[in-house]
Subunit: 283 residues, 2 copies
């Protein structure tokens, strides 16, 4: 518990500092997180004698890496026909060829399984790019209380604080009022009352933080709704993955919090969704 | 053996007829093949108590479907930022949510596995779009012997004939000269001599067909090289998948040939690669 507080006491200011500092630094930090998460996934699946294809798992950091290049150069763009599809096709055929060679040499028939788990790791890691997209947003926001911070930083802080509010109040409400189990087979500690408490807090704090950071309580309410529903869903999905692997945490990088994937599970679901919502939210 | 010849006697003229007829009809046919292959994969993995996530497996036909829409409307385009990434993100989060609900209800911890195999099926099926891309090409080709057929049809015929030449002569050379096993654990019948015979035939017939269909033996040689190497690689990869599942064929649609995936295994690897090469091949 002490370690948990110490990690938070270092981690939170670090995260906020990098977020406010610059979008380039933030994007580089997200890329680093994605690389750490790649190592965590390969280790956790390796323990269960699953061997995700390394090319496909590694390609999962391509999107965070591209987002970083985009933030740093401010304008690298992607053409589906000329860049994305050719690159994806080549990568796939290379990964298949790799598995054919491995199978022919070892005689172990696991090519399909290795490709399948490689793709699973790859798509999970690509979700890290969602945070960078949010941070990169440069469309003007209505003035909140902090007009001197970038709009991208404002969106990111709003989203992260909504996720934190969800997590904290879900825990509190669950401990205080929890009666009916939410998904006992998946995550025995969670209750329906806790989940509803988390959602209620996300909406309330979302409205407050929306008013503070982007000058609109309605927009904050929408971000809070996404965090309240999909943050908890991301948490449950990672629980399902971990229970399937019979592990408690994906890693041990952050004492008391587990690994990168354990700490960022909710945000991995919420950040890409909020980034998708940005163009349709009223400013 | 009789069924094998009968299937070919109906299948080959049908395939050639649709190819020459129109690119819309061809693209619709490829979409149909991808849907049949989807049913084959879900059935084959289901037999092994693997349950590919249906949303992700089904999304594998999105690319062939888009290619069909493109062929039919002649101009629908895709924007990575505004269409592809948002659609992919929503699909992923929907599939994850689906698996959380299934896991919470059944108590079976297989969310990661279902997502992994769903992605495997999805990417395999998306390769069908390669054939449509080839057929859609409308850049002028140097006149071959058949100046009245579309350039797309010419590219497709060149590619398909190179694949057929590879397969037929690999079989022949293997039977006539085969001594050293190529990959005994994967596909015991294949020999090094057979593979080299297939490659040699692909190069020779590639040059000939290149001269006939696109007026350039050099371009034909390049297409033959892709077919000779990656056609055989596609064959081996599908063998690896089938051996892993302990099945002989993915389906039984084409008597004597197995299913759609069994018949189109080489072309699934070769067509997307040739389509990628098109912009850099000399005309």
């Amino acid at each position: 518990m002490l370690f948990r507080w110490l990690s938070a006491a270092v981690g939170i200011p670090l995260f906020l500092g990098v977020t406010l500092w610059s979008r380039e630094a933030f994007a580089a930090g997200v890329l680093l997180l994605a690389l750490l998460a790649l190592a965590e996934m390969l280790a956790a699946y390796g323990e269960k004698d699953l061997r995700p294809n390394p090319l496909l798992a590694g390609a999962g950091v391509a999107l965070p890496a591209w987002a970083w290049a985009f933030a740093a150069r401010s304008g690298s763009s992607l053409d589906v026909g000329r860049v994305v599809l050719p690159a994806a096709t080549l990568l796939l055929l290379l990964a298949f060829t790799w598995e054919v060679v491995v199978a022919a040499r070892t005689g172990e028939m696991r090519a399909g399984r290795n490709v399948a788990y490689g793709l699973l790791c790859g798509v999970m890691l690509s979700l890290f790019a969602g945070m960078t997209w949010l941070r990169m947003d440069s469309a003007p926001v209505a003035a909140g209380l902090f007009p001197r911070i970038d709009s991208g930083a404002a969106w990111l802080l709003l989203t992260v604080f909504c996720v934190w509010a969800t997590d904290s109040f879900a825990l509190f409400a669950g401990k205080a009022f929890g009666k009916r189990k939410l998904a006992p087979k998946l995550s025995p500690g969670k209750t329906v009352e806790g989940a509803l408490g988390g959602l209620a807090a996300a909406l309330a704090f979302g409205a407050l933080f929306g008013w503070m950071f982007v000058g609109s309580w309605k927009v904050g309410l929408a971000v809070g709704a996404v965090a309240g529903v999909f943050g908890q869903m991301g948490d449950l999905f990672e629980s399902a993955l971990k229970r399937e692997l019979e592990i408690k945490d994906f890693g041990a990088l952050l004492p008391g919090h587990g690994g990168v994937l354990d700490r960022f599970d909710s945000l991995l679901f919420v950040a890409p969704l909020v980034a998708l919502l940005l163009p349709v939210l009223p400013r």
